[in-house]
Amino acid sequence: MLAESSTDHNKNTRWESIFWIVFLLILLWLSNDFDKPLRYFPLGAAFWPKVVISFMAIATAILFASTFITRIEVENTQNSHLEETPKDLAGVGWRTFAIFITPLIWALIMHKVGFLLTTPFFIIFFTRFMGVTNWRVLLSYTVLFYSTIVFVFYKLIFTPLPMGAGDFHTVTGELMALIQ
């Protein structure tokens, strides 16, 4: 069992090492764009990034080499938050995907439609995906939390938040005038 999990761990670490090597090669290639000596600093703008890339390359090489050494880690039960970190996405399904994608969709739509108009929908959908199924709880929480946000950020401290574009900008502007 231990040997099996150690093999899996080594396999993952090797894939991670390959990822880092590719990532570092891309960074190195991109650094050619600005790899010129500067008037007051002959080492140039690429000096520091190249130092860091070299440092990371050494760390990657050691990480990769470490997968060929069989080892038993001394029990480290203190590192509790690392222990409880989920290691896979198996058996979770569409709701995990929805939880990952909803904030991104909200951010994209917010830019076009505005914070004021999109946020209630985000609260409803995200809370639903998190597992709240009672519609009464869902709606009352949305109303309460949304009103608090609007009061604090639009009425009390006038925080600049996305207003949307085109007609949405106008609607948000009118709503804000109404609130303020």
């Binding site: 690392l82 917010m110 809370t127």
Partner: protein, 495 residues
């Protein structure tokens, strides 16, 4: 002493003075606790209004906001893994882990008490030795020494938050690389910007921190909820005992010194103070592997240091007119609004005004203790809210925080990308604290390194021949060596 009493009397004898003091205290605490709406926002909003206040009240208000704001950011860092500002980020490393272990009240207790101790000691030192110490620090610590100091600080970062030293190094490297995005500090040459205007200014600290801490935490906990493995943190309102505080005495002393010294250095301030003192707490600990898992030293060190930096930051500001950060720079604006110029003559020309500032910062530090003790008993009950309802709130507050700082939707995208990246990195045992420290210390460090190399004719030998930087660089190399040996001993090799 007499000056201090005069300052205190001028501060508290009028109802307006008391009102402004309390308003500044609460304003700083609230704005410091809301990510993105930092004390800078409050200070910027209030700047025009200071023209209608007397100079004494205006400068006192800014002193109080500065002190309370630095503490305010610790609350959300501890309870929800959302640092209110960059200098509170290291507090989240262990503070939030303590919350997950059911010790939120204890963590807040440590944070508030140590913030008060750091702030008060710093205020006392500020009153005793403003001018000579400013001269000493600024004449002794140049770019060479600052670079060496940051190198020294970076050497322990890899050991925090990851079980693998290599992954810790890679996390640190990733942070340092993120810090290089944008214009280079010497020639302003764009690096890794892909021709976009947004990246030319670099990736903002706040969106990055919110993404790596808050968003990734929501994603991790959400996955646990869906898998049925989520455990809500237990709530206790237990304040740390006197003996527990006593056990922290050396951490407090060390962090006060680090915070105070970092505060004096112009352009360095509370952020570096918090990160360096966290690193030193790791370095001096007998159990460095426990950092990041929820131990009090991880809260005590950054909170003492970032508050100790507040008083110290006044020293170069008042004595030499050099601001240590954005808020202290705004204080110059307050003085200018009232037709005064900061510099060596300020102690003579506006003697009472300076002592009102000193007194207000001293009393604000003590008032934080009172407010914080009450707060620590009450605010932990926020954790009773189920995480299913808390998660959208965390995401919305983080989004507001990321957007409002620069009025830029790309900051929200950066935050979300950092959140997803942080989720996968944490799952693979990479260290988020090391990434954040890499970004922050890397940016300050690169700037100093470029200046130092110019001064040393591009020779690295110079770092070892200058006395202070020589000691720091040697100690840094020894730390790397000791770290490798320590980690090596944690593994038993099987033939």
């Amino acid at each position: 002493m007499e000056d201090f009493l005069i300052g205190t009397t001028l501060l508290f004898t009028s109802p307006a003075g008391v009102g402004i003091f309390i308003g500044g205290l609460i304003g700083g605490l609230v704005f410091g606790a809301i990510p993105g709406l930092s004390t800078l926002t409050l200070a910027a909003v209030l700047l025009p209004f200071t023209a209608w206040m007397s100079a004494e009240y205006a400068i006192m208000l800014y002193g109080v906001i500065y002190v309370s704001g630095v503490y305010g950011g610790a609350i959300t860092a501890i309870l929800f893994n959302i640092p209110g500002s960059v200098e509170n980020a290291p507090t989240a490393f262990d503070g939030y882990a303590m919350t997950r272990k059911g010790e939120a009240s204890k963590a807040i207790g440590y944070a508030v008490t140590c913030s008060a101790i750091g702030g008060t000691l710093s205020a006392i030192l500020m009153m005793i030795a403003t001018e000579p110490l400013a001269d000493f620090a600024i004449s002794t610590f140049g770019p060479v020494e600052i670079t060496a100091l940051i190198f020294f600080g970076l050497t322990v970062v890899a050991g925090v938050g990851s079980r693998s030293l290599c992954k810790g190094w890679l996390s640190l490297g990733l942070g340092l690389m993120i810090g290089t995005i944008g214009s280079d500090p010497v020639g302003g040459i764009p690096r890794y910007t892909f021709g976009t205007l947004y990246l030319a200014g670099g990736i903002g600290f706040i969106p990055l921190i919110l993404g790596l801490f808050a968003v990734s935490e929501v994603l991790l906990q959400a996955q646990k909820i869906l898998k049925g493995t989520y455990k809500a943190p237990s709530i206790s309102v237990k304040f740390p005992a006197a003996a527990e505080f006593w056990a922290m005495r050396w951490v407090v002393v060390r962090s006060t010194i680090i915070g105070w010294f970092s505060g004096i250095l112009p352009g360095v301030g509370a952020t570096l103070a918090a990160f360096l003192s966290y690193n030193e707490a790791v370095r001096w600990s007998k159990t460095p592997e426990k950092f990041g898992t929820g131990i009090p030293e991880g809260v005590v060190a950054p909170e003492t240091a970032n508050n100790a930096a507040t008083g110290a930051a006044m020293i170069p500001l008042l004595a030499l007119g050099l601001p240590g950060g954005a808020l202290t720079a705004m204080m110059i604006g307050v003085f200018n609004v009232h037709d005064m110029e900061i510099g060596p003559l300020i102690m003579i020309e506006a003697h009472d005004l300076v002592w009102i500032l000193f007194a207000s910062m001293f009393w604000a530090s003590l008032a934080i203790l009172l407010l914080g003790v009450i707060e620590s008993k009450g605010i932990v009950h926020l954790l009773r809210i189920p995480f299913t309802l808390l998660a959208p709130a965390i995401l919305i507050f983080s989004t507001i925080g990321a957007y409002a700082l620069r009025d830029n939707i790309f900051d929200v995208y950066s935050m979300l990308i950092a959140g997803v990246a942080g989720y996968f990195l944490r799952r693979s045992d990479y260290s988020v604290p090391a990434i954040v420290m890499g970004v922050i210390l890397g940016q300050i460090g690169e700037n100093s390194l470029a200046q130092a190399l110019t001064m040393l004719d591009d020779s690295f030998i110079g770092f070892f021949t200058e006395p202070i930087s020589g000691v720091l660089c040697t100690a840094a190399l020894l730390t790397i060596l000791v770290g490798i040996i320590r980690r090596y001993r944690q593994f038993s090799l099987v033939k």
